[in-house]
Amino acid sequence: MIQKIHKVIILLVLSVFLFEGNCYAQGIGHYKGDESKLYAETKQFTQFVKRFNNEEDMNGQPYPTGSYKFRELSMRKKYLEVLFDSENASLTKKLKKDFIDDVTNSKAPKFIEKRQGGYFAQVETRYLYKGKNINVTLYLRLQADSLGYKWAIFDVYSDVLQGIHKNDTSKKNFLHPMSHEIDFMNLHRAFRDPNEIEDYGVNGYKMDYLSVLFYLAKSGDLTFVTVNKVKFHIFQISGWYFSVEKFERDSYNSGWMISQLMPLKNEDMEVWTQHILQKDK
């Protein structure tokens, strides 16, 4: 009985939290119960998507098939309001309002569809490289394969990995144009100094760092240690870019939330993607 009463109180608190967007901080501040915070927390990225789209009730239960509540827009607005990191000052009221108004536009609402691509994960990891700790950023996307789906690494960035290879384009070494007549015996010169080896590649040649990562792991020079952080980059909502991160804090504003948001024109999408993939470094 006590448990039931407790649960009712929690639900009331969460209702206030969701329905009274402007004054919830004050109302909730008086409530010290632990469970209400856990209810409010966006516990999985899956839940972030379901709250973003309004596909589940306040208890995290999916709406029954055919329910009018499924993706209903007024409740969705309330959910969206609590999906932002409230401690990030760059997420201004106006920016959030513009975004929420756009995605809940009754004529053309925008939803996150998990099977339609347009998002990827950035995973900060740590490895041991030749006995030293190094940070490596992996980029993964959901890929259809055989009977289902899988997360697959499609790119990688690490100061150390990228630093192994010369980035400057000033090439001073080459194999002279008559090398073929001496059976390319001068190749030994190319491989004499590993620091200059890139000079001998064809112009425009690009290093595939993912292959380098795999090679170093296979050779035993690189050993996986741990995952430090995960972040999702969402490009699927036309006209916008936003990132989603997990905030673990003793607060009603915790779990998976929007950490960065900006309007993004379609023509700028490629440049911004390259920036996130750290290709401009």
Binding site: R115, S146, G148, T226
Partner: protein, 200 residues
Amino acid sequence: MTNMKSIKTLSILFLCLLGLQVFGQDTPKEEPPMPPARKAAIDSLALEKVHDLSKYISKIGDKETSFSEASRVIERALELFVDDAQIGVSTLGKSQIRYFAIKKYLERLNKLNYKSVNIEWFDIQYISDLEKQPDGKYVGVITIYQKFTGVTEDGMVYKDITKKDITIYVERKTTQIGGREIGFWDVLLGDIKVSETKKG
């Protein structure tokens, strides 16, 4: 002449269909989502296994449990898991994950030798959708919150509140009963991510 043209057209059509099949290989056939009643039954089976694991953990951590009994319970607990499952632990204020094989984790718990272990469940859980992976098995994640209280021999009380994200694998299996093939859904636990949310 007309025949030749028909054969040519059919050949092109055949090649096109073949081509479509090759491109189609990468995309799984979109299946209708699992019926809610079946999903609910699987969720409840998975939660039952998670509860079993908690009971085993309490037993393993309890000093009153003899070594041979603890070993037997560890074996029972391992039966809940797929091979090679791991527990990844992240502590408050530190983002990195420390990895333990399930067996090692349970043996370590047994060696901590608490006088008593109590695991309380918060009345909250979140169960993700079940997604099909390339081998055809379904995978999902159940999030639960628990309060762990361990009392040592000298009366020291260790408390923590953890969030546990538990991988579940769901597979359709068949068995022969009385000469008839009966289908059933089997649920096994996989990797568990344990995040300390609060010191008790």
